[in-house]
Amino acid sequence: MIHKFKNLGQYIVLDVASGAVHSLDEKAYALLDCYDGNGVFLPENAAELGLVGAEYDEAKEELQSLIDEKLLFTKDIYAEIAKRWDKQSVVKALCLHIAHDCNLRCKYCFADGGEYMGKRELMSAEVGKKAIDFVIEQSGNRKNIEIDYFGGEPLMNFDVVKEITEYAKEQGRLRGKNFRFTITTNGVLLDEDKQAYINENMSNVVLSLDGRKEVHDAVRVRVDGSGSYDRVTPKFQKLAESRNQNNYYVRGTFTRDNLDFAEDVKHLMELGFEQISVEPVVAPETEDYSIRREDLPAIFAEYDRLAQILTNTRKSGKFVNFFHFMIDLEQGPCAYKRLSGCGSGHEYLAVTPSGDLYPCHQFVGKPEFKMGTVFEGKLDENIRKRFMNSNIYTKEACSTCWNRFYCSGGCAANAFNMNGDIDKPYEIACEMQKKRTECAIAMAAALSE
């Protein structure tokens, strides 16, 4: 299976199963339509399309050499691997809901204003430490363990963040585990002391900022309804500089109210940020701001425009990283990782303030997905196996999709929320993800010139 597309003036073909990517000229690109699905050249098709002559013969020979070298029209070998795979997964990452409370009332919040359809609650140090004990016990021989402090707003409970972090570091030393910490914050309570602690201890920090002031302030509002842009932006700029513009993301959300989101990325670049993620909101169509199918053409055009802006920026010698266009074609994740996706429900779990375990932060508050508690030290095996056994070949829509090794089957929570089944991906997210993969590959090709 191949996927061919044009972007950034490049004619690209991706060989899906091998992962090979080629940039072609127009003649070779046109000739791809003259092969059957197995890489057999059909001369009658070429004749019909008028693709004949010495130049086309030459292009055909070059494509044939790629086929011979197993770099084009290769067969999928992974479905069989997935079937035979005796996956022995261990829990290696926890999302700690350090505060089911928030000092903002962002209109698109999937966490119900921080409460996750429950009550306002802060995690205690006792629960957090139990979570650390739990993940050490569950992580088997795995050395690297990730802890993400999430909310609500984690800075509302920062003393507990510090206590859990110090405990995890100590236990890691004693038990041969390397803890990596990340924290997500809206910045309202960020100050110099917290910044210093974050810089000393957190390998990544995610800073919520949507872009232009009017876009940010229309959604990310305080309890009194006023915007938060002026309060958080200077603090985020300072924090990004203090980390040498590395190991952080300013992370924005775009909605159907700002489908010109490339302007927000540009604004974040103008503020000096070099690590940027601006991502589509996920919300049911009943919400005014949700992304609809009819928005997709505008979103695709905007992604193209953004890819061009970022390519020009890179070519001018300035580095800006856009999270959703990151791709490492040489040494990205292995096939096993790409088969199985994010690991929610078996490698990655969320812990609520009271110590309940869920497959991920987006399942919190759905009682049927409660997997146990950190105090019991065991997981609901039915739920764990349901998530562990899900892969790109258990999802009908994914098994034949060219993008399956780039999104790895999409987000289980989105699939469940939109289609009622973790194996039925959310189609609108799929379409946007495919566009982003094309942009990322085209940028890699354009920047290799």
């Binding site: 690209i12 091998s18 992962g19 090979a20 990517v21 080629h22 940039s23 072609l24 000229d25 003649k27 070779a28 030459e58 494509l63 790629l66 770099l71 290769t74 691997i81 990452a93 999937f110 795995r142 690297n144 990730e146 993400d148 999430f150 990340t182 990544n204 995610v206 993301y249 992370r251 959300t253 993620s277 959703h324 791709i327 490492d328 074609l329 040489e330 040494q331 990205g332 994740p333 292995c334 096993y336 990782k337 790409r338 996706g341 994010c342 490698e347 990655y348 987006q362 999104c407 790895s408 089957g409 987000c411 989105n414 997210a429 993800q433 990322a440 590959i441 890699a444 090709a445 290799s448």
Partner: protein, 48 residues
């Protein structure tokens, strides 16, 4: 080649032989939290 430039080789197919150590980062921890983006993750065995 005159008509074709290979940007990257068969790296996905090659990764079957050495992959699966499980030490890599959980994708949702990096920034997204609302999507699933795996291909932009780093392999923990990556040589810098």
């Amino acid at each position: 080649m005159k008509h074709v430039k290979t940007i990257s080789g068969a790296n996905l197919a090659k990764s079957v032989n050495k992959g699966g150590c499980g030490e890599c980062q959980t994708s949702c921890q990096s920034a997204c939290k609302t999507s699933c983006t795996v291909a932009n993750q780093k392999c923990e065995q990556k040589k810098d």
